[in-house]
């Protein structure tokens, strides 16, 4: 497997309400409703991403591979369902940056090798939909390339980086002697 890049650049989707403020406490039922828990095919999961978050139901049609999500505080609260991470991976969403994350959501994203960065000062990037965002996992830099603004984010921990570089938690385990 080719080495995975230590930075990500892509078109951003700030998950905001009608007034433009980040939506806090987006829970796993809003991200991936429990009506679809029986789905096991990852490709199909993409269809239901944000299906239960007001104003975001058309996200699966609009998202393109390589896009990045920018989210508010305590994103992914609620259940432990892995689908709330996998539905975005299915759409090719390249990663997520957020003010903060629910612990289990963070664990699931890290285990899946899906880039997740915590950035308490996210709002200072003044991200608008479609702006180009750059995230550096090693230095912890978050840059709004379009507007020329930079804020510090938390770099990946060694553990997160090792799992990410291997691909996912299972791939990391398979490499052990």
């Amino acid at each position: 497997m080719a080495a995975r890049p230590s930075a990500l650049e892509g078109r951003v989707w700030p998950v905001v309400d009608a007034a433009g403020a980040y939506i806090d406490d987006v829970d796993t039922d809003q991200i991936y409703h429990n009506a679809h828990l029986a789905v096991t095919d990852m490709e199909e999961m993409g269809r239901y991403a944000f299906g239960n978050l007001g104003g975001w139901g058309d996200f699966p049609e609009k998202a393109k591979a390589g896009d990045i999500l920018a989210v508010g505080a305590n994103f992914g609260a609620g259940s432990s369902r892995q689908q709330a991470v996998d539905c975005f991976r299915a759409l090719g969403v390249a990663g997520v940056v957020g003010v903060s994350f629910a612990p289990i959501y963070k664990r699931n994203a890290i285990n899946a090798g899906w880039p997740l960065m915590e950035c308490p000062d996210l709002s200072r990037l003044e991200l608008a939909a479609g702006d180009v965002l750059r995230l550096n996992f090693k230095t912890g830099e978050a840059v709004n390339v379009t507007k020329g603004k930079t804020v510090p984010a938390r770099p990946f921990s060694r553990v997160q980086l090792e799992i990410y570089v291997a691909g996912d938690l299972f791939a990391y385990g398979a490499r052990l002697g």
């Binding site: 432990s80 892995q82 921990s157 553990v159 299972f170 791939a171 990391y172 385990g173 398979a174």
Partner: protein, 416 residues
């Protein structure tokens, strides 16, 4: 630099000093899976690590406790899948006769003070009772732990809870756990490692510590640690057949907060549907008619819990129309119930006395409720659907015994 209990345990298992907030690889002394989740662990392992060995078979276990012995084919299939994997890998199985995995691991000396354990059991943090770090994890995480012998953890922030005053029988450690839930709710200790101090904490027996620590999950806490007393170290050392040492916090360690909880003269409490944090005094709901009672679970399934129930009953029978079930936590306790004559005493009072396991708490076969059924239970969760379709009131064995005696929710002080 001074460290908290959880920081010290993690540091000893990752080879580095750690503080709250760090994310580190942690060596696991015990990696286990139950019949719930175990089959998924095996499937994940075979899908990703086909033909590879577990990291250390001597530290890897299956602990069957949910539907034991299996009363349906899916669970029987899952148990057999685990047994066959275990045979291939040389892993020990604590089979359907053994009892609740978290308790078995303590009794066998596998979970011990200062150690680290994961299992597919959301109450695995119960081993905080003996100063051990346990975590419940999903099947993917546990499959990885089987393969790698370690997992990753974010070191949690620690808080102190200092108990003030003392309470007396028939108020028990279960009421203390419920008092903590009343105080902190289901999220007041979210993601925190709790250390319990004060004379009322120090005085807790091993069994009482298990009861309190078992409800950390309902409080959202990573774990509740009670610094091991001499009695605890002897109990664990006896189980392990070795000398064990407790891990204690350093003077000056960093706590996010210190809370005082006044338990002086605490009265018997009950958690009403629909959640463990919906705590009221028993006297507030006294008189509510019950149809059944469940005595057991990882929270109150120990010998002392059945002794407490028998003490309240004092030879008096279960009220007509009430079904009372007793499910010991482990085979060892089951043996003691038989040996001490307690099983016979409960049987004579009208109880169903079953083999060891989780019982209705894990939707096992003993203690499930039907729609409209009102149950008192010594377990730890009463969410809708958790212990069947009825309404479950969580209380101590003493309160449950008083209630089966009268056929209504009853303050044990009224009948002793």
């Amino acid at each position: 630099m001074p460290f908290t209990i959880v920081e010290k345990i993690i540091a000893a298992h990752c080879g580095d000093d750690v503080y709250a907030g760090a994310t580190v690889w942690v060596e696991l002394d015990v990696r286990a899976a139950r019949d719930f989740g175990g089959a998924n662990v095996v499937q994940n392992f075979e899908a990703h690590y086909a033909g590879q060995p577990v990291a250390d078979a001597a530290k890897t276990f299956f602990t069957f406790d949910c539907v034991v012995p299996a009363s349906n084919i899916p669970f029987a299939d899952n148990q057999q899948l685990c047994r066959e994997f275990a045979a291939r890998q040389g892993i020990k199985v604590y089979d359907v006769d053994a009892g609740i995995g978290s308790h078995v691991l303590m009794e066998e000396g596998l979970a011990r003070p200062g150690g680290t354990v994961v299992n597919t059991d959301s109450h695995m943090n119960i081993v905080g009772a003996i100063g051990c770090l346990g975590q419940g994890m999903g099947d993917a995480d546990v499959a990885f732990a089987f393969r790698a012998g370690r997992t990753w953890l974010e070191v949690p922030a620690s808080v102190k809870v200092v108990l003030k005053g003392k309470y007396k029988w028939p108020t028990t450690a279960k009421d203390l756990a419920l008092a903590m839930l009343r105080e902190f709710g289901s999220s007041g200790l979210l993601g925190r490692a709790v250390e319990l101090y004060g004379p009322a904490a120090e005085a807790l027996s091993v069994e009482e510590r298990i009861t309190v620590a078992s409800m950390a999950t309902e409080m959202g806490a990573i774990a509740i640690f009670v610094p091991p007393s001499e009695e605890v170290l002897e109990w664990c050392g006896g189980a392990a057949g070795i000398d064990v040492r407790g891990v204690y916090a350093d003077e000056g360690a960093s706590y996010e907060a210190t809370y005082e909880l006044d338990v002086d003269g605490l009265e018997p409490l009950v958690a009403c549907p629909p959640s463990p944090a919906n705590v009221k005094a028993v006297s507030e709901v006294a008189g509510k008619e019950i149809g059944s009672a469940f005595f057991g679970s990882c929270t109150n399934g120990r010998l002392e819990d059945f002794r407490a129930a028998a003490r309240v009953l004092s030879g008096r029978p279960v009220a007509a129309g009430v079904v009372a079930c007793a499910v010991p936590a482990t085979r060892r306790i089951y043996g003691a119930l038989l040996g001490e004559g307690l099983a016979e005493e409960l049987f004579a009072a009208g109880f169903v006395v079953s083999n060891a396991g989780c019982g209705g708490c894990a939707q096992g076969q003993v203690g499930m409720t039907g729609r409209g059924e009102v149950q008192v239970s010594t377990s730890n969760r009463n969410f809708p659907g958790k212990q069947g379709a009825g309404e479950t009131y969580l209380c101590s064995p003493a309160t449950a015994a008083a209630s089966v005696l009268m056929g209504t929710i009853t303050d044990p002080r009224e009948v002793i």
